[in-house]
């Protein structure tokens, strides 16, 4: 159909030109013009029809839908080919059409963000209508058993009322994140310093892809590694010291998460350190500082905003990381300082609430959305800060390769 439209449009343009009239655009462009504006109404009908049947407003048989779309296309094709003459600005019209289409695509990213925000806020709001907000933020007991049973259709069974105190969950999240950062920041930052300041170009070009491989490994693989290899190692190690460790310890999950974050921090800090201008280094060296001192007292302080931004991005990755903690950190909300205990995180609780056969509007499911809201807000704030820091670094040194 569209092909026919193209042929018709082009043919008509050629015939007009053959009459010796001066035209606004080339024949091909008339072809495209007719094609696009023939297709548009038909597509609209199709999309609207699909949406209607998806929403369950009206069930339209697919054949009728296609028929309607084709009829409309034929109608608009006829109208266009009759109306088209040498004054039609086909080129500009095509241009506008494309521009509109591209703008529409660009809007999808906005729709997505608002979709996430809206869906989470909406469901979290439902949750806070049922449970108290204060209890959620300050309560120290997370015991949603009765909500779980209610959600599974067994609400009448006699158990204690559900408690949604999220403090132990937040504590576990931050604790594991802290362990991860304790592993990742020193190793990542020092690796970046070596790559940017000491390594030869050749070595740098080889090592950076290797780090990128480390960054590209799926987190479920890290989770397996944490559960199968790291956890038994830790347990055996601490047993030999006479300390009892849980197989699902915060330490194991934290260490592996740290390994996961090393390449993020290393790669970003490396970019930042490399873009510190050379004249600062030369000035320092000329004053008699040796290389290590130059790095420590001159390069690093200048790169600091960028390095902090890299660390913050690492933190936000660690907070939102799911698979490693699901597989290696345990399910029990546990308010404890002992890194060898099992702990749980926000993401684990979200997954746990969603995987079971829970009714969608049960308190447990809604609690997961409330946790998701907290996660969203916290990571968003961290990201905004880190973007701001990178911007300020930009401005300071006028580098544009970040």
């Amino acid at each position: 159909m569209l092909f026919i439209a193209f042929i018709v449009g082009k043919g008509r343009a050629i015939s007009i030109r053959a009459k010796g009239l001066k035209m606004h655009s080339q024949p091909d462009q008339y072809g495209w013009f007719v094609t696009l504006y023939t297709g548009l109404p038909a597509m609209m009908v199709g999309v609207v029809g699909v949406f209607l049947s998806l929403f369950g407003v009206a069930s339209i048989p697919p054949l009728m839908l296609i028929g309607a779309a084709l009829a409309l296309a034929a109608f608009s094709l006829y109208g266009l080919s009759v109306k088209m003459n040498e004054k039609t600005k086909a080129r500009d019209l095509v241009e506008n059409f494309i521009k509109g289409l591209l703008l529409l695509a660009a809007f999808i990213s906005i729709i997505t963000t608002f979709g996430i925000l809206f869906s989470i806020v909406f469901e979290a709001f439902h949750f806070f209508q049922r449970e108290s907000f204060i209890g959620f933020v300050f309560g120290t007991t997370w015991d949603p058993d009765s909500a779980f049973l209610a959600g599974a259709g067994r609400g009448h069974e006699d158990v204690a009322a559900a408690k949604f105190g999220a403090v132990p969950i937040f504590a576990g999240t931050f604790y594991i994140t802290a362990i991860a950062m304790a592993v990742a920041v020193p190793i990542g930052l020092l690796s970046a310093i070596y790559l940017a300041e000491y390594a030869s170009d050749k070595a740098r070009n080889r090592i950076k892809p290797a780090l990128e491989i480390l960054a590209g490994i799926p987190t479920v693989v890290y989770g397996f590694f944490a559960a199968i290899t790291v956890a038994p190692l830790l347990v055996n190690f601490f047993r030999s010291l006479g300390i009892d460790a849980s197989f699902e310890s915060a330490l194991g999950a934290g260490i592996v998460m740290g390994i996961m974050i090393i390449p993020i921090i290393a790669s970003l800090s490396d970019d930042v350190i490399s873009s510190v201008p050379n004249n600062i280094r030369n000035g320092s060296l000329a004053l008699g500082m040796n290389k290590a001192e130059t790095i420590k007292f001159v390069v690093l302080p200048s790169a600091m905003p960028g390095v902090i931004a890299a660390v913050l991005l690492g933190v936000s990755r660690a907070l939102g990381e799911t698979m490693i903690v699901v597989m290696a950190a345990g399910l029990r909300p546990n308010l404890s300082w002992n890194p060898l205990d099992d702990m749980t995180t926000v993401t684990v609780k979200i997954v746990q609430a969603m995987v079971g056969d829970q009714a969608f509007d049960s308190s447990l499911t809604l609690a997961a959305f409330a946790l998701g809201l907290v996660l969203f807000v916290v990571t968003l704030i961290i990201n905004v800060i880190s973007v701001y820091l990178i911007r300020s670094f930009h401005k300071k040194y006028k580098v544009s390769n970040l």
């Binding site: 693989v221 199968i228 997954v351 995987v355 968003l380």
Partner: protein, 388 residues
């Protein structure tokens, strides 16, 4: 002598030592991170390689009509512990495919049970003493052997560990990725073209740009919440299907594709655009005929990297139910399916020891795919990268 040297600084030795120590520390840190990578890959290969082999046992069966009804009756208790129940269950079907077998005694290679298999590979197992003796006897009679594990690559998941395969997960991943790419690539590239070539520098454009940067940094699990709340609960897309998984992942990989496509468009020098305007072309004509062909390899590279990331993504897919138990490979995007990382996650939670090596083997398959995708991306980048 030192007193006469004007350049002598008393602390110099200490300072140089400190500098050397710092350099050593940095080198050690880098070595540690690379060692992690090495240890990690080594560990996966060590755990995963045994799963490429599978033990088979040679058995003689007198096949009668009764075998069709109750294949378990043909075996005594000892051999049932050694041979896989899944294989015995499939026996009647095999006989139906070969009706001439009835009334004869056939020598068949039967799939060994998980514990037998683990014993043959020298791993921890739960065989009892007398069973070990039987297996040892079979071994000395050459009636048991390790063969290439076809089941792993050509069948779907199973609750019986020796019969569990990765195929349905691979198919699920392929379908999901198809959906993801069909949605994310056009939208991503179109957005990038708009932002880079058409957009006026106003509030709206800035809003879109900030949004994209934020989207890239949102934890993936929140995309899962979105998929659950909007796609499944609101639009009624079938749960666990590659369609809903693909749509969720498409939203996730959009920012990656947009950012890399924008970078690719940016690397096309402005002189080309100005030459086009000079000849009286419209923006779209310039973009379509001149800028896009030059930026395409870069866009493709970005899309491949986004694809690689989407393949390994697990958390959002778990949220939309793609950890369903799927014994048969899905053939359409509306059926329930599982994907590779989700299958890995499911297997890693299984209590049977044999699932560990299956999990590791699944990880090896996944990593191989990811590495080859990344290699293709790097190759494309090297081949088409131009210095202007």
């Amino acid at each position: 002598m030192k007193q006469n040297d004007y350049f002598y600084i008393p602390q110099i030795k200490k300072r140089n030592q400190k500098a050397a120590a710092f350099k050593g520390l940095a080198a050690a840190a880098l070595a540690t991170s690379l060692a992690f990578l090495g240890l990690f890959l080594f560990d996966m290969v060590r755990q995963g390689l045994p799963a490429l082999k599978q033990a088979y046992v040679k058995v003689d069966i007198a096949i009668t009509e009764a075998t069709l009804q109750n294949p378990y009756a043909e075996f005594d208790r000892e051999s049932l512990a050694i041979i896989s129940r899944a294989w015995v269950r499939g026996l009647p079907q095999m006989i139906e495919e070969n009706p001439q077998w009835i009334g004869t005694t056939q020598t068949l290679w039967a799939l060994a049970a998980a514990e037998t298999d683990q014993y043959m590979k020298g791993k921890q197992n739960r065989l009892r003493e007398n069973q070990i003796q039987i297996v040892e006897k079979l071994k000395s009679d050459a009636k048991i052997e390790l063969r290439f594990n076809k089941i792993f690559f050509f069948t779907g998941d199973s609750k019986i560990p020796e019969n569990a395969g990765f195929f349905s997960a691979i198919m699920g991943s392929v379908l999901t990725m198809l959906v993801t790419m069909v949605i994310a690539m056009p939208i991503g590239i179109m957005t990038a073209i708009y932002l880079e070539e058409f957009a006026p520098d106003n509030r709206l454009t800035q809003l879109i740009e900030i949004n994209i940067n934020n989207l890239a940094a949102i934890p993936s699990i929140l995309f899962g919440l979105l998929g659950l709340a909007i796609f499944i609960n609101f639009f009624g897309v079938p749960r666990s299907s590659p369609l809903v998984g693909g749509m969720t992942l498409a939203l996730m990989s959009l920012p990656i594709i947009i950012v890399s496509s924008k970078a690719a468009l940016k690397s096309v020098p402005d002189s080309i655009r100005q030459a086009g305007f000079g000849l009286g072309l419209t923006r779209w004509q310039i973009v379509k005929d001149h800028v896009l062909p030059m930026a395409l390899p870069g866009m493709l590279t970005g899309s491949i990297i986004a694809l690689a990331q989407a393949i390994g993504e697990t958390a959002p897919l778990i949220m939309v139910g793609m950890i369903a138990f799927v014994p048969d490979a899905a053939t359409s995007i509306f059926e329930a399916a599982t994907v590779m990382p989700a299958q890995i996650y499911t297997w890693s939670g299984m209590p049977e020891k044999m699932y560990i090596e299956k999990t590791a083997a699944g990880i090896l398959v996944l990593l191989t795919i990811l590495l080859s995708l990344n290699t293709v991306a790097i190759f494309l980048r090297r081949k088409y990268m131009k210095k202007w």
